[in-house]
Symmetry: C2
């Protein structure tokens, strides 16, 4: 492998992740000449917005920079993408953006998982796999951090950079809807509006456009809806057959995952997506007092307080039983059964 | 009528609406002691947020203030409502907030339609029915204007006022999604975050909560989806039977009307809602080059460029034929058939 050398050289750094300050992260980005920026697999607006905004910024500083995404980038992000440099891995400085766990590097994990030089992230659950980590868990999106880094680097923001950053913030916050949003988020958004970002067009694409196929899938998925525990838990299922019949890709299912969280009174919304013959990705969305992360961690998964996931094996019914038991346990522990939450 | 006297006295002012400056609008609100604030019928977050934020502000200045809404206020706004003063109409100063046309006063039009002293609004289509008008069509919401007015009045913003204003801005902009949003909108939002507004809770209620019944209705409605004209037109139908079976009210159908506008490639999204045995309300949502207003006007209805409606009589099939013909005509006139729009 082409990266074998780096891998061997750096393996001693494992499990000795250093937390760096904002100032030192900025210094680090000034210091070197060749950067490879890695985004996570199944790329979303925040990892791509972060990666490309940082790319444009470092290019302005005269660096050689490559952005590598482990998966094909969905076409809807094309308005801020470009062909980046192709640089030698040897001696390059490796930056991960918005990647909480090296497993999220997907196909690139083997080559890059243990040799990331600087990880820039906002996930409190970051597993500290990089040599250095700049973590700001108060940021609504990694793009919020990247905006501040570019400002500190005195990068001249332009329309494309502003669109990339806006996309990351908007998509990671549900368009400023979620609890991760702060005054800082809105201040940055206000600053981005001084560029021609066409935010309404971005938001239309990101939130209000679905394919005919996806709408068909939604119809099928709604037919699977089941309610448990006095309607406090809702489960919908996406089978491989449904995906095949409609031609939908797994990456288009974000909206479907949100269906189960939007029903009045539901504290745990579960979406079970078949990923193999007897493999299912179970996405859990919760409201207080329930904690999606705790539910999924108890089964070997992980995530955020309100949104987490776990891969489970077995028949669909076995998978349902496992997740329902985990939810039931937490409902009992937190008195969610009787609480008037929501 | 109790307001007859005011009505007679002021009728001479009709059709002589004076545009006032921001400064004079603020002066006007300082000057008097008794204010009646009117919101529009079928109240939304912006008219209510404006009305109540202004109420709390004027109360701080020691005024007597009453807020009157022509309709029952939906329960979801209760977090910023209160019992306002009840004051004599005689000699009171009448303020309309977010009311572009006196017909929007609904049941209150007869009594108040021609006697409004100051109208504070952001709709470019304002029909200038009040004696004085402070119109700022660049504001994303009337609440944006109210925030600036309260600041100019040196009102101390508190959590409740901040929640009211945030609600108006958030709901009128689709949570910062639409083209009416500007840097100013985000700056105000940032300022509101210094209060305990629980924006995520507000947004959850306003955007992401639907009843189990509404979800069932959505499922039924999706089953009616039909595509026409090379998938550039989509029709969904809500029958009286579906409403009865699910127990959904007509006022809950905003989300359903949006289904047909969200499908990729659809230029005309039509929602046909049965309102009587042979009566249907047809809501049309369009993208360029189509014009929903022109389509609906051609059948006797009206509305905006991108969102309009018309009441049609006949069987469901006859109604479909009428609206499809009108859309077909416009598609031919505008070359929408071959255009690559969207």
């Amino acid at each position: 492998m082409i990266y074998q050398k780096i891998l061997r050289k750096e393996v001693t750094h494992l499990n000795s992740c250093i937390d760096v300050s904002f100032k030192n992260a900025v210094k680090f980005l000034k210091k070197n000449d060749n950067y490879i920026i890695l985004t996570h697999a199944s790329p979303d607006g925040d990892t791509l917005g972060s990666g490309y905004a940082l790319y444009y910024g470092l290019k302005q500083l005269g660096k050689q920079v490559e952005v590598i995404c482990p998966d094909v980038i969905p076409q809807e992000y094309s308005y801020f993408l470009c062909d980046t440099d192709h640089i030698s891995r040897d001696g390059a400085t490796l930056i991960a953006v918005d990647i909480a766990d090296k497993r999220l590097l997907g196909a690139l994990e083997e080559d890059f998982g243990d040799v990331i030089d600087l990880n820039i992230d906002h996930h409190i659950s970051n597993t500290r796999y990089a040599k250095s980590l700049y973590l700001d868990a108060d940021a609504s999106a990694t793009c919020e951090i990247i905006y501040e880094i570019l400002s500190a680097l005195k990068v001249k923001i332009n329309d494309t950079i502003a669109k990339a950053i806006y996309t990351g913030i908007s998509t990671d916050t549900g368009c400023f809807k979620y609890s991760c949003v702060t005054a800082r988020t809105h201040k940055i958004a206000a600053a981005l509006y001084s560029y021609n970002i066409e935010a309404d067009v971005i938001n239309k694409v990101m939130f209000d456009t679905k394919s005919k196929a996806l709408l068909s899938l939604e119809r099928m998925v709604l037919d699977t809806a089941e309610y448990h525990f006095d309607d406090k838990c809702m489960i919908v299922t996406v089978t491989a057959e449904m995906l095949k019949a409609t031609g939908c890709k797994g990456t288009q299912l974000e909206g479907i995952t949100n269906i189960s969280r939007s029903v009045d009174g539901v504290l745990a919304g579960v979406t079970i997506k078949q990923t193999g013959d007897d493999t299912y990705k179970v996405s859990v969305r919760t409201y207080e007092p329930l904690n999606a992360s705790q539910i999924c961690v108890s089964l070997g998964g992980g995530g955020h307080k309100n949104a987490a996931a776990v891969i489970l094996r077995g028949s669909l019914n076995e998978v349902k039983e496992k997740i329902l038991n985990a939810i039931k346990r937490q409902m009992e522990e937190t008195n969610a059964w009787t609480s008037a939450a929501r």
